[in-house]
Subunit: 298 residues, 2 copies
Amino acid sequence: MHSITYISAQFQTLQDFICQKLEAADGIGKFQEDLWMRAAGGGGRTRTISGEKIEKGGVAFSAVHGPLPDTLVKSMQLEPGNFFATGVSIVLHPESPMAPIIHMNVRYFETSGGRWWFGGGIDLTPHYIVDADARDFHLALKSCCDQFHPDFYSKFKDQADSYFYLPHRKETRGVGGIFYDYLNDSCGLSQAELLNFCLALGRLFPDIYADLLQRAAQRPWGTPEKKWQMLRRGRYVEFNLVWDRGTRFGLETDGRTESILMSMPPGAEWIYNFQPDPEGPESKTLLALKPGIDWINA
Amino acid sequence: MHSITYISAQFQTLQDFICQKLEAADGIGKFQEDLWMRAAGGGGRTRTISGEKIEKGGVAFSAVHGPLPDTLVKSMQLEPGNFFATGVSIVLHPESPMAPIIHMNVRYFETSGGRWWFGGGIDLTPHYIVDADARDFHLALKSCCDQFHPDFYSKFKDQADSYFYLPHRKETRGVGGIFYDYLNDSCGLSQAELLNFCLALGRLFPDIYADLLQRAAQRPWGTPEKKWQMLRRGRYVEFNLVWDRGTRFGLETDGRTESILMSMPPGAEWIYNFQPDPEGPESKTLLALKPGIDWINA
């Protein structure tokens, strides 16, 4: 078993690696760093960027510990005691409406009672869905998953479809990706192998996004596309504040608000009952915001 | 006892009265109306405005009925059966950052088991707090409350301070107002008197806001004030989506999303860890976003 110190050091290194690659992909923006401490134990390193291609982005590392919250003891049937949690969490909002919003998270949780698990995922939220982008994104995730476990991709893809869903809009957040939680050795892989899986995903992430930004750079856009982007960002806000378990848990348990809400877009708009042109690309995107689409073979 | 038909007709007339007054206050904007039906029973009349002084606003009436949701049966210790609910709900976002956002709601709930109660409130969210505006707003509410019950204002003012609060920001939403719920004849007033209290509040509402808009018209503003308004609107979004019980209940129980999210601002912005000039009016406003301020005698 790796120690929590080892795992958090690996995640911290992953944050460095990702930030460096993203700065290169943006070309102009540089990450600003905020160190913070948590009264109950631990702290974090929040990095934010406001660049040329990435309008607003955050790459956060944290490693926190303390007494297990009662709600978690009950919901997870844990022995009361202490917990340790570490992870890297990312949301990037691009300047171009033709590029997608992306989210990634890898995390590790351990209790003093001897329970441990990994969680995480990557999902893509295009303002305008481009089938080839969605396909190649899913192919890259599948290829990474397949190196570790033959069931991971299809299982985690389904879980992403369920998780990144807005019931009040009857829409998925985007084209999905993968999502996993409570992943431990019951899947047949050791703690060290699962850590390697999380790290492999994390290392893959900046290349995936750099490629998507490069593709989007070829696509012209103007005021109507920017307007649509603002409305889609409104949906992103709705998902994060109403449904995202991590965001809600953080806000309800007095987490560090600025780090949690790093995921908010730079701006968002709401128009009452907006209906896009049924013949336009906006409507085409809305029609594809459904769970269960096989993007690889679509 | 008034019938549910009578009460909902009164609320519908109140909606007409308020819309007419608000159109006059705006000078340019006209309400657009959407009628909708609810599959499980009832429906509503959602009216929205996009005017000159009111950038985005909604005045919604609804009257719905159906089987009591299980969650409500449990939380309110009700006899299972049917419910009927009717109300008027309003949020107005002004164009000028020097004018406040305002919210008002009056509602009536009745069960087939014979339980009934009123709920409602008015609260004010200035982007820039003006002490005299906050004082006169509270004076108007107090004067209306005092006509019905000597304890209403102070009790409902405290409840507004508790309710319109963002724990994750350690801020009140604005300068408060009044908030009440589960109000029935145990307070000493009859159902008819409590209905009159709700209607009096509702009729007072457009005059209060017209006066506030008129005051704000004298206050010049430019880009920095608009920027601040966008950030404060971000906080409004956070309150509504994370903490507002009505919004969350509606979204989680498959309510009509467009009517529920009529309260969203036209636009909102987020900047990571934004700190206003400590000497500026923005900081002065932040310092006053605390519960328990006696605005009338401050």
